[in-house]
């Protein structure tokens, strides 16, 4: 599947993911643990990230989208595959070298309540990455930088000595963004950054992320389950199902011309806030639930729920391939 290289055809590739697999062992036994199986959370991903773009990663809970983000940043060590970031193979990097690389890639977490240490002030939360990476040469430098960061994310710099509980959800998420920006990264994994926020606050954070991307030339991997939000913020979108990317395309192309039955069903299931449009929409209701990732079905992963499944889908696995203009899909229906 090397043809997946340079999927966009234009722009400089910042991150190259090839055949990425992340399997978690299932063990049995108390004293002597033996592996009896594995959860295939991520099972062979190929994609590129172009410098300055936002790649949206959507899928339902348990499809492996967060694990993908973590495996890229080496927070989980991948079972197999290659992750090249700015030309460096991350899976073979460790120790101080990896820490060096981590300056270039950061993460924003979903839960702004759990991802900030309640006993640390905002100043020390945002300043900690500076200490870890020995940036900020003096104390005043560091303070100056922290104030600047708070200003960038739209928080009052006077808040440096406050604690997380004194802030609302949206403000906490801004603190999380400031912390990620502290070390001047070029790449940020945003793992469901707005899911825990109120509707009227979500737009504030989305706009902030968009502004920062433009000003600081950031590249985002934007992980979310809300397709409307992902379509809004992303340049290209990858759809995941049970540990695999089933489709990847430019945002409008994916919406107007989906080439995988799962994407079609997913798009049709997302409600549109307009009763006139809703009344006309045809909803594809999928039967059943997502299979267990410890024992995925043979053949195509989606075959058990696919309304268009053919005999072949239960035996062979469709290849994830280009169906035209950088639009990738893994479905036999595209073969004729």
């Amino acid at each position: 599947m090397s043809e997946a290289a340079n999927m966009n055809g234009s722009g400089e590739v910042l991150l190259e993911v090839r055949d990425l697999k992340m399997h978690f062992p299932i063990t049995r036994g108390i004293l002597i643990q033996r592996q009896v199986g594995s959860i295939r959370a991520v099972d062979g991903l190929d994609f590129d990230l172009i410098k300055g773009e936002t790649l949206g990663l959507v899928g339902e809970s348990g499809c492996g989208k967060s694990t993908t983000g973590r495996a890229i940043l080496q927070l989980h060590r991948p079972t197999e595959g290659s992750v090249r970031f700015e030309g460096v193979e991350l899976t073979e990097t460790s120790g101080p070298d990896l820490r060096q690389m981590r300056r270039r890639m950061q993460m924003i977490f979903q839960d702004p309540y759990a991802s900030l240490n309640p006993r640390m002030t905002v100043g020390s939360i945002v300043g900690e990455p500076l200490d870890v990476h020995q940036l900020g040469s003096s104390k005043t430098d560091r303070q100056e930088r922290v104030r600047e960061l708070l200003e960038i994310v739209g928080l009052n710099p006077y808040f440096v000595n406050r604690y997380p509980h004194e802030f609302s959800g949206g403000q906490r998420q801004r603190i999380g963004v400031a912390r990620a920006l502290a070390v001047n990264p070029s790449f940020i994994v945003c793992d469901e950054p707005i899911s825990a926020l109120d509707v009227s606050i979500q737009a504030q954070v989305i706009n902030l992320l968009e502004d920062l991307q433009r000003e600081l030339q950031l590249t985002y991997l934007f992980i979310a389950h809300d397709l409307s939000v992902v379509r809004h913020i992303s340049d290209r979108i990858a759809v995941m199902y049970l540990g695999k990317i089933v489709e990847l395309a430019e945002r409008t192309e994916l919406y107007e011309n989906p080439r995988h039955p799962y994407t079609e069903a997913l798009l049709s299931a997302v409600p549109v806030p307009d009763p006139v449009v809703e009344a006309k929409r045809q909803r594809i209701i999928l039967e059943g639930d997502v299979p267990n990732p410890a024992s995925p079905p043979t053949g195509c992963n989606f075959s058990t729920r696919c309304p268009k499944a053919m005999d072949r889908c239960f035996q062979e696995e469709p290849e994830f391939r280009d169906v035209g203009n950088g639009h990738y899909a893994a479905c036999f229906l595209n073969e004729e």
Binding site: G170, D198, P271, R281
Partner: protein
């Protein structure tokens, strides 16, 4: 016009806490007709859940207290009813399904036992009758091999299946009114579509009325007939679903609709967020609750809270400003200021 099933007048619920009085619901009035789907929309802390919990007096007291109001259900005043009599209505003629199917089922009882419990209590069925009815109900909500799953425990079901079980429990006594409190929020979109489809089908088949509480304006558009928008414990706008989306009158509703990205947006437009923070419910409401965040605020908004008044047919809004002026301002000015 169909018959009014539920009539709520001036319902007011407060919580008396150590930090002060939380003004959760501040005098809301609305009605639900027989067989109708009404959606109550609001963000967290808008009082939407407390508002419906108060209907059937499911408010922990202390600290909560329903301080005022009348709730007439099918000709009967619920506020004066003895606890004993109310229990015959709850779970029977008014059923409720909750947001989180993981925590609202009892983990140590089988699914079958949890469904048959209310059947035996309210419908005075015996064991075998109630078991049979439970199987019917599980089949109705689309659980495969219902008879064999009756003796399974909640952890053996997936999230979507558990929500189906909750719905089956809700429907067990043929309720006239089903209150659904964010029933799909914890579920994935494809499962959400299954559940909405199911509830809508059951409503048509069984002719019950539904109050659907949600924060998702998309879900509302697809399933409700009328929409009530709540903010800070007040109803700030109420209208038929088409009117509300086509002609929103209240700046908050307008703001919400402009702040959410749409899946079918043709061009990527910058979202217009609502500035500021949600209100603190500890403050005694004196001015318009939305005034601190409103782009169109005038002097009067700070002096008096606007009443909910008719602005068009079947359309109520609580705002001092005239909507035509607001629309003019929107067209003239740059689209809102970012935070």
């Amino acid at each position: 016009m169909s018959k009014t099933l539920l009539n709520v007048r001036d319902l007011e619920t407060k919580f008396f806490t150590q930090d002060g009085v939380v003004h959760a619901v501040n005098g809301i009035s609305y009605h639900v007709d027989e067989g109708e789907t009404v959606a109550i929309v609001g963000e967290s802390g808008s009082g939407k859940s407390v508002g419906v919990m108060s209907l059937i007096r499911l408010i922990a007291s202390p600290p909560g207290k329903i301080v005022n109001g009348s709730v007439v259900f099918d000709g009967q005043e619920l506020m004066d009813l003895a606890e004993e009599d109310l229990r015959h209505i709850r779970g029977n003629r008014i059923a409720m399904i909750f947001q989180d199917p993981m925590t609202s089922l009892n983990p140590v009882l089988t699914i079958g036992r949890q469904i048959t419990e209310s059947l035996e209590l309210h419908m005075s069925m015996n064991r075998s009758q109630s078991r049979e009815r439970a199987i019917e109900l599980l089949e109705l909500v689309g659980i495969p091999a219902a008879a064999s799953r009756l003796d399974d425990y909640p952890h053996q079901f997936s999230g979507g299946m558990r929500q189906r079980v909750m719905i089956a429990m809700g429907l067990s006594c043929n309720p006239q009114l089903l209150i659904a409190d964010e029933p799909t929020t914890a579920l994935d979109v494809t499962i959400q579509a299954q559940i909405i489809d199911l509830v809508d089908r059951l409503r048509k088949e069984l002719g019950m009325a539904i109050i659907w509480i949600t924060h998702d304006l998309g879900v509302v558009a697809g399933m409700a007939e009328r929409v009530i928008v709540m903010y800070s414990g007040f109803i700030i706008e109420a209208a038929t679903v088409n009117d509300l989306y086509a002609q929103p009158h209240h700046p908050y509703t307008l703001g919400l609709l402009r702040s959410i990205p749409r899946l079918d947006e043709a061009h990527r437009e910058r979202l217009v967020p609502i500035d500021g923070l949600p209100p603190d419910l500890l403050d005694e409401p004196s001015h318009c609750p939305f005034a601190p965040r409103c782009e169109f605020v005038i002097e009067k908004c700070w002096q008096e809270n606007p009443p909910l008044e008719t602005v068009a047919d079947d359309h109520l809004s609580a705002c001092w400003r005239d909507i035509s002026e607001i629309r003019l301002e929107l067209e003239a000015g740059p689209a809102g200021g970012a935070a």
